[in-house]
């Protein structure tokens, strides 16, 4: 028999909700502070749209990397994957001209570029997952290696030149408005977040990753295919980055091997600030959304306020470490 404790049942417990959603409170407070500090220019529709568009690509990376952190791992190769996918997809969709990368007789349709970009990412992710699951090398090392290799491949592939002069069909993906007034990258980011949330809470895969991150031996004993699920998590993470890469190439009009510099760290930061625990087994998609937005508000707000980008970095660094310290304390207290 379950003995329900009073209070958990009766009435809405505001304190409990606030405690569970501290990260959202932090976001709200930050929005208010930044709005006041900027004299209102922060909350204009144009600026909000700007903020969301800037953060959209990173949001995709964040959702992906959340799964790897949840599984008690990490993926620091996402930005490199993003760059590779950007260059590969762009190279297939260049307009015919004298200096195209692949000298195709006709450019490929945009969706081929998209699929190729994501497929390349999937391969990298599969390899990451495979090495981590079967050779048990630390995920940081596995993906550090992948980062270097993938970056190298992207540079080699493009000779470090931008892959520009892309077909209108390709560019419209990242620059267009499928929904009026909402940039496509934002729409896609929202879709990725929703997919991430559904995977996390509505599928066996999600439950398995929670279990593996929480206690991988117990997961094995409970009959979970630990290796297969790890491979899936890293593959999904990479695919998110690949999708981001294609859209970034499309939006910026060229695929460059150095695109998305440091994005992997921003993604890890957003997931972390959003409450994804690096000790594994803890993540909530709502928290991660807030984490993405918090990083966005910091980036955008400090920019409007004219704060030096160097100081922005310092602020971000402090917030990330602070978030983890707070997270550890929270879990330590309960244990």
């Amino acid at each position: 028999m379950i003995s329900m404790s009073e209070g958990a049942k009766g009435g809405v417990n505001i304190a409990a909700i606030a405690k569970k959603n501290t990260v959202w409170l932090v976001l709200i407070v930050m929005v208010i502070v930044v709005s006041i500090a900027t004299g209102g220019s922060f909350v204009t529709p144009v600026n909000i749209s700007n903020l969301l568009t800037t953060e959209a690509i990173k949001a995709m990376l964040t959702v992906g990397v959340m799964f790897t952190i949840l599984a008690k791992g990490i993926d620091i190769s996402t930005a490199a994957v993003l760059a590779l996918s950007a260059t590969v997809s762009a190279s297939l969709c260049q307009q015919i001209g004298p200096d195209t990368l692949l000298h195709l007789s006709t450019p490929m349709p945009a969706f081929v570029g998209l699929i190729a970009g994501v497929a390349v990412a999937a391969v990298v992710g599969f390899c990451n997952g495979f090495f981590i699951a079967y050779t048990k090398i630390p995920p940081f090392i596995a993906t550090l290696g992948a980062q270097l290799v993938v970056k190298g491949i992207a540079l080699l592939y493009t000779n470090a030149y931008p892959v520009a002069n892309l077909t209108p069909g390709f560019k419209i993906m990242g620059q267009g408005f499928l929904i009026p007034k909402v940039p496509n990258v934002v729409t896609v980011a929202v879709v990725v977040v929703i997919i991430g949330g559904v995977l996390l809470t509505q599928t066996r895969f999600g439950k398995n990753i929670f279990a593996i991150g929480g206690n991988d031996i117990a997961a094995k004993v409970a009959g979970i295919k630990v290796e297969k699920n790890l491979i899936l998590a890293y593959t999904f993470c990479s695919c998110c980055a690949g999708l981001g890469g294609v859209l970034l190439a499309s939006r910026s009009g060229s695929g460059i091997a150095t695109l998305g510099f440091n994005y992997e760290l921003d993604a890890i930061a957003a997931a972390t600030v959003g409450g994804t625990s690096h000790t594994g087994g803890v993540a909530r998609i709502s928290g991660v959304i807030a984490g993405i937005l918090i990083l966005g508000v910091i980036n955008n707000g400090l920019l409007i306020l004219g704060v030096s980008p160097y100081i922005q970095q310092i602020v971000k660094g402090g917030i990330i470490v602070g978030a983890v310290v707070w997270d550890m304390r929270k879990h330590a207290k309960k244990a």
């Binding site: 404790s5 958990a8 599928t203 206690n215 031996i217 409970a222 087994g281 803890v282």
Partner: protein, 494 residues
């Protein structure tokens, strides 16, 4: 001075259990003193109280005529009491000499730099003193367990120990290596050092111990001179408790055999184990800690490779390479290490309940069914939790255990293996688990139950398989089973 060490009325309580209920120990100088008792008799706890790893709640310790109370291992070491642990803890990547002098390296004048020359010479002198033949510059990780143990003993002696405690020192040694150890023990003895020796091996006890003190269930039983006692009497003293009828064992018809293990081995873990399990039967696995019982069931469950032997279910040979295979064959394993490989602390009671059964909730997951299944079993097993969403780590050990039982019942196993199902849980939850196991057997599930608690094994099992050092020494029928007989098989003294 008659005794170098006198411990009197030592009481040590842990939340929920009284591990030591006022026990005594008197050790004469220059002797080997054996501590005897079953698993959980309190021998190791008593030693940990002595060396300051635990603080006794009551009682007094007199060492070399003075009342002492060590706050930590370091204080005990400095006073000359050291312990060679069952699990050695060397730093494998450093050299032998660095391990010996770890934390108290000789320094060059100025106290900044380590004096490696002196360290080497000190180590050579030390090894010469107790006849240990080891290269001080060898990397610790390259040594055999026996040699690592020699290093540990040397380390103990280097503290000018008056008392050296050895907990199951020969459990990982070959016969020749053990001989070497006994030679060193005798050497130390002749130098006036006292040794406190914990072992389950009867021949060793009678071979090297001068005195014996026997404990049972945290109580002092008796102290004897080894030459005044024989093996039979010793076993009697170790197990001689009165068995009370606290076990809710149901009697009912036991069905036909449904599971058979033939000549099963897994490398060095255990060899040549064969048994049959019948429908509705509770087969107890008895034996001393380290006898290989857990390893057998983990192998059956696909956690260790099978190096020889076959497993049959319903008369058909089955292959098990992973826990998943075992679950598909309708076998469930409630592991011994609840925290280590049982619960997912951060996940909810509901998720912990249904995690082994995830294949049955579709896509997207049917959360309503997950909740109702969890609710059903939580109620059935009387799990006390504020809600299904509660993180399981906030539950008591007994309730966590019930959730784990629920997890396996949800997979509807034919065979449920439970490894130390009542370890570390309170008395009330314990008897609930006992009735549950009996009820499951009555419902036609076959149970393998490992237990280190003699009354539990005797009270619950239809038959008892006894292990000794990786080998099966016998299967005893319920009607014939006595504590003495089980202990004789467990110590291979039949």
């Amino acid at each position: 001075m008659e005794y170098v060490l006198e411990m009197q009325g030592i009481v040590k309580s842990f939340p929920g259990v009284k591990a030591l209920k006022g026990v005594d120990l008197r050790v004469r100088p220059g002797t080997v003193h054996g501590l005897m008792g079953e698993n959980g008799a309190g021998k190791s706890t008593l030693m940990k109280c002595l060396i300051g790893m635990y603080t006794a709640n009551e009682g007094s310790i007199t060492y070399k005529g003075e009342q002492v109370s060590f706050n930590n291992v370091r204080e005990a070491l400095e006073a000359g009491i050291s312990m060679v642990h069952q699990e050695l803890s060397p730093v494998p990547e450093r050299t032998v000499m660095e391990n010996v002098w770890l934390g108290r390296e000789p320094m060059r004048p100025g106290g900044i730099f380590v004096d490696h020359k002196k360290m080497l010479q000190d180590t050579i002198d030390l090894f010469a003193r107790i006849n240990v033949n080891l290269d001080p510059k060898e990397k610790m990780g390259n040594l055999s367990v026996a040699k690592m143990q020699m290093v540990e003993i040397s380390k103990a002696v280097s503290h000018d120990a008056s008392i050296v405690i050895m907990d199951e020192p020969t459990s990982a040694l070959t016969a020749t290596e053990a001989e070497d150890l006994f030679r060193i023990i005798n050497d130390l003895k002749s130098k006036g050092v006292s040794l406190i020796y914990i072992s389950h091996k009867m021949d060793e006890i009678f071979g090297i111990c001068d005195d014996l003190t026997i404990y049972r269930d945290g109580e002092y039983v008796d102290s004897r001179n080894t030459k005044d006692i024989d093996q039979e009497e010793l076993i009697q003293l170790m197990v001689g408790r009165k068995l009370t009828a606290m076990f809710p064992k149901l009697s009912f018809e036991i069905g036909p055999p449904i599971f058979k293990v033939e000549g099963l081995s897994s490398g060095k873990l255990f060899q040549d184990v064969s048994f049959e399990l019948r429908k509705g039967e509770i087969l107890g696995f008895a034996g001393l800690v380290g006898a290989g019982r857990t390893e057998i069931v983990e192998t059956i469950f696909g956690m260790h490779p099978i190096t020889a032997g076959k497993i049959y279910k319903d008369g058909v040979e089955i292959k098990i390479n992973s826990p998943r295979d075992a679950i598909h064959n309708k076998i469930g394993l409630l592991t011994e290490d609840r925290r280590g490989n049982g619960i997912f602390g951060m996940l909810s009671v509901a998720d912990n309940t249904i995690i082994a059964n995830l294949d049955h909730y579709g896509l997207p997951l049917n959360h309503k069914k997950i909740r109702s299944d969890a609710q059903e079993y939580v109620e059935k097993l009387n799990v006390k939790t504020p809600s299904l969403a509660q993180e399981i780590k906030n539950l008591s050990g007994g309730n966590q255990q019930k959730v784990l039982v629920a997890r396996w019942l949800l997979t509807d196993p034919d065979i449920l293996i439970v490894d130390e199902p009542t370890r570390g849980i309170d008395v009330g939850a314990k008897s609930e688990i006992h009735s549950l196991i009996t009820r499951l057997a009555a419902e036609g599930k076959s149970i393998i139950m490992i237990s280190s608690e003699m009354p539990e094994v005797l009270g619950m099992s239809d038959r008892i398989l006894v292990m000794h050092e990786g080998h099966m020494t016998g299967i005893i029928d319920r009607a014939d089973a006595t504590q003495e007989l089980v202990m004789q098989y467990a110590t291979a003294s039949v």
